[in-house]
Amino acid sequence: MNYLLAVITLTLTAHAAWAQCCSGGVPMSGNIGLPASDAGSWQWMLSYDVNVLRTLKDANNTLDDDTRERLTRSGLFQMGYAISSRWALDAFFSFVRQERTIRQIGFSENFTFTQGIGDATLLVKFKAATLNEGKGEWWVAAGPKAPLGASDLTDDRGITLVADLQPGSGAWDGVLWTQLSHQISWRPSLSFSSRIIARLTGKNNNYLGSQVYEFGDEGQVMASLSDQVLLGRLLLNPGVTTRLRHAGRDRTNGEFVPNSGGTFLFIAPSLGLQLTPDLSLQSRVDLPVYTQVDGTQLAPTYRVNVGVLFRLNRTKSFSPEITPLFENK
């Protein structure tokens, strides 16, 4: 029973750790890594993610300019299979729409978009340790990110757009992932988890026909606290995540691309709703609390992610020990 509770709690906590890849680019590395599940079970996660960038930053100063906006809208599909209690496999697919809008006073609005299949990631996960008599787990994972997405799309005039506006990166990347999660002993429904993700980027050797483009390497550290509460007959999972993300500067032909890369700190409240033992809804909002960009860049203003998680072939019943938010008498 306690094990199952831990798994469920960790499952929902893990979903509080969604993140993004780069300022406007392909939303990948922060989103990967489905929660742990029972051996032989399948999981499907479908989510919609919109990342809004309309804050113009010069280093860590906010400039008084709201004339430009970049949106990355993504449909994300993640499927996972637990081979055993220690091994699991996740695959992550995306459909990405990149939008750019410019609104200068006195001139007509200018709007550009691309959309298409984004890149995909395969992650092999291994449970490195079970901690404290099953109250905690440590998982590690690694895998490739394959360049399924196009990186040479054009605007409505046939003009090729830059890397940041493409749905794909055009490069094979390596992804390293680890997560440590633990129940809080004095409140079994409350859990803490931390996650570290590193994306080691490869090179797009066919950028603009003759150039080599490489997005900056990326690292993220996340810490989450999540609880389970009963609100009437609703089983809710409120949580909060802090996420520190650092993206290195991009390179063209080996030379740094100006105004790329930076360090970002977000706080992200989340709320989940368990509809059935196998079906849950998830939502999260990322709000930047500190931003330090290289040069001058549009930086994240906020990010919204909503999704649904479905699990199949559970081997154990669902009967969590939960703490009611309000007592029903």
Binding site: T67, I102, Q104, F107, T114, A120, D155, G158
Partner: protein, 367 residues
Amino acid sequence: MKPLHLLIAVFVTLASCQDSGTPAPSNQPPAPSQPGGGNSGGNANSSDWLIPQSQVLDGGPGKDGIPALENPQRIEPAQASYLDPQDLVVGYVADGEAVAYPHKILDWHEIINDKVGSDAVAITYCPLTGTGIGWSRVINNEETTFGVSGLLYNTNLIPYDRATDSNWSQMRLDCVNGELKGEKVVTMPVVETTWATWQQMYPDTKVISTNTGFSRNYQRYPYGDYRTNNDNIIFPVNNEDDRLPAKDRVLGVIRGRQAKIYPVDIFNTNPRLVQEVFQEGVSYVVAGSAEQNYAVAYATNGQTFEPVLDSLPIIMRDEAGNEYDVFGVVVSGPDAGSRLDPIDSYIGYYFAWQAFFPSSPIVFGIE
């Protein structure tokens, strides 16, 4: 098929559909796999380009994402504490008014639409090619303004005119797309030099204020080490040529589709002159000083010139006793008030000149 095999098969199948990214043999971007959308082009004809459309690229910020300035505020030199003596400016003079347009402002706005005296001028500046050129804002007898299209050709600025939304090539000096395709730019003579030299030439000059109406950090150069790193060319260009370092500042003098290149460094400390004749018989004079950091060129009528030292803005004298200022205006002598005919010329990075004018001859020194 077992579930695990299915999952792996899906991933591998999809991944194998992706081109692994073998470099293309030339600078030509590949045919795009599918289009995006939007209203990026405004009213311009979307596909009718005078230059290869495949070499026209989106620079990232988008149309008007780099905001051009309109009649920006001018201040006295004493108020321009944001400028250092060696900072480069693009200077313009008309009807006794001298105005300096600093690179520190132009790096962030690329085009300044202004009126100096009675002249409607646009100072166009491309930070990626280092080219500052004055354009007339009068097209077909109508005054207009220019904006930044967000497009690049050979990594060079493509302004658009706001009367017709046509796209123009800054370094080619012609309209390359839209209603006015094929029209030539009417250039307005400018002098690019240091802030110190410009003040020496025109002590009564005004200079553009950083109070532009836009929130930018004008003290920071926005392109990192781009100015000095010869290996850093952000977008593809044609005709790579290593006879000179890519970022050397050179004056190019254009005749038709040909150009001749004069590195600013060859002019030494004092003003030096080079008198040349194009194959078609057009004679011209190039004057410059490496120390004072300027180089200009004007068409001539066969006069013989000698340099004038320490008298800026006067830089040369002809055999008839006429003294010429840096804009080619005769400021004293029998022909006072006249001026040498302009010839298309401007300063830019060496690689950009070779991209637009392949195999241009270079003058490596002055005897």
